[in-house]
């Protein structure tokens, strides 16, 4: 089945910005074909990945250890956790047992000490998953796997499970930004 993805949100935002210009143009071109299932998953994966990478590049390094409450994860631990868990999809999809760092919950677990380390780590987690989604394609994502849950899961669902997981942590980190008097990258005026 063909469908657009959540990436459409970004497209919509860009579209609104350009609307006045577009209205003056002569006949609109028909929309191109909708992305395939795997392309839709890939767009969603990369979209939330892009937002997480942007935060890794942007949040003040001297606030990496900030946490809103004693039981909460620090900023950097939250980002490491959201990113590392992507390997639960990536490795399972590749037919491997998820690597131990899939469960990383502490920057020390993955050797992240500086912003550069964090950006590199988050970027690799996103890119490795994206490469796996591409490799699987539409047919491959419909394969079912034993991921340790009570029933088999399709890789498509596992990928979306991790995308959802990342979205939730992104939402937490947005509040971390706001509490520190900062505007999240996505909420700033677009240049």
């Amino acid at each position: 089945m063909k469908r657009f993805s959540r990436f459409a949100l970004v497209w919509l935002a860009v579209g609104f910005a350009l609307a006045p210009l577009r209205a003056q143009e002569a006949p609109k071109k028909a929309p191109g074909p909708a992305p395939s299932q795997s392309e839709g998953v890939l767009d969603s994966w990369n979209e939330i990945g892009r937002k997480l990478i942007a935060m890794a590049q942007d949040f003040p390094e001297d606030k990496f250890s900030y946490k809103p409450q004693a039981e909460s994860r620090t900023f950097v631990a939250n980002l490491v956790h959201a990113s590392a868990s992507m390997y639960f999809f990536t490795d399972t999809s590749a037919g491997k047992k998820p690597r131990p760092l899939s469960y990383a919950d502490d920057p020390k677990d993955v050797g992240v000490k500086t912003r550069a380390d964090l950006v590199a780590f988050v970027t690799k987690c996103v890119e490795d998953g994206a490469a796996e989604i591409k490799a699987k394609g539409d047919k491959g994502l419909m394969e079912t796997v034993d991921d340790g849950g009570p029933h088999l899961d399709r890789l498509y669902d596992l990928a979306y499970g991790l995308i959802a997981h990342s979205n939730e942590h992104y939402g937490q980190l947005v509040v971390y930004y706001r509490i520190n008097g900062l505007v999240p990258p996505e909420s700033r005026p677009k240049k």
């Binding site: 469908r3 949100l9 039981e71 009570p150 088999l152 997981h165 939730e168 947005v174």
Partner: protein, 189 residues
């Protein structure tokens, strides 16, 4: 299973078992009818359930709480999620939006809880009439062509992000978020 990924597993639990085969069987099983719709509904069921539970768990006196002046209060988050549910799901099924401005007009916990539950019920009803084939039909969203199922997908992602907001609001008030309730205390290092 590591407790830290319980969110993912809990969400996957709601992907209909019957559609995937109740016994663990070799990979490459035949995809069920309407697999994409079933997946979307399962994930939405989990995420919307988490938001409703968070809204229920936050005491009414904290519905006006906001961590900084620039952001929505907890109650406004609840209203915003309800508004968005009606907006996205009504467009997905080609109906006029039946309920608007919840965020602007309701402030009490009882009213916001009711509105949120109604919004979720509206979306679930919308899912019930959906198939993968119908979901691939394009609809207009403003000036853009979007697949119907993608509207559900956007709604789920939107709900999920705001659930993440709520998690931190709850933590700031010393309340354990619903999706962390069943987790054991971390082992001492």
């Amino acid at each position: 299973m590591n407790k830290k990924l319980s969110f993912v597993f809990a969400a996957l639990m709601l992907v209909p078992v019957a559609l995937l085969g109740q016994e663990k069987a070799p990979a490459q099983s035949t995809p069920p009818a309407n697999p994409i719709t079933a997946s979307e509904k399962g994930f939405y069921g989990f995420v919307s359930g988490a938001v409703v539970a968070a809204a229920q768990k936050m005491p009414e006196e904290n519905y006006s709480f906001k961590p900084t002046p620039e952001v929505r209060s907890f109650g406004q988050l609840v209203g915003h999620v309800a508004d968005a549910s009606y907006s996205f799901c009504s467009q997905a099924i080609g109906e006029a939006n039946p309920v608007k401005d919840i965020e602007k007009t309701k402030t009490s916990k009882a009213d916001l809880m009711a509105a949120l539950k109604d919004g979720v019920a509206y979306c679930n009803k919308a899912f019930d009439g959906m198939t993968d084939a119908k979901g691939s039909e394009m609809v207009k969203l403003f000036n853009f062509n979007i697949a119907k199922l993608t509207l559900f997908s956007i709604n789920t992602a939107h709900t999920d992000e705001h659930y993440g907001n709520m998690v931190t609001y709850l933590r700031l008030k010393g309340i354990v978020p619903p999706t962390s309730e069943s987790q054991p205390a971390p082992a001492p290092k």
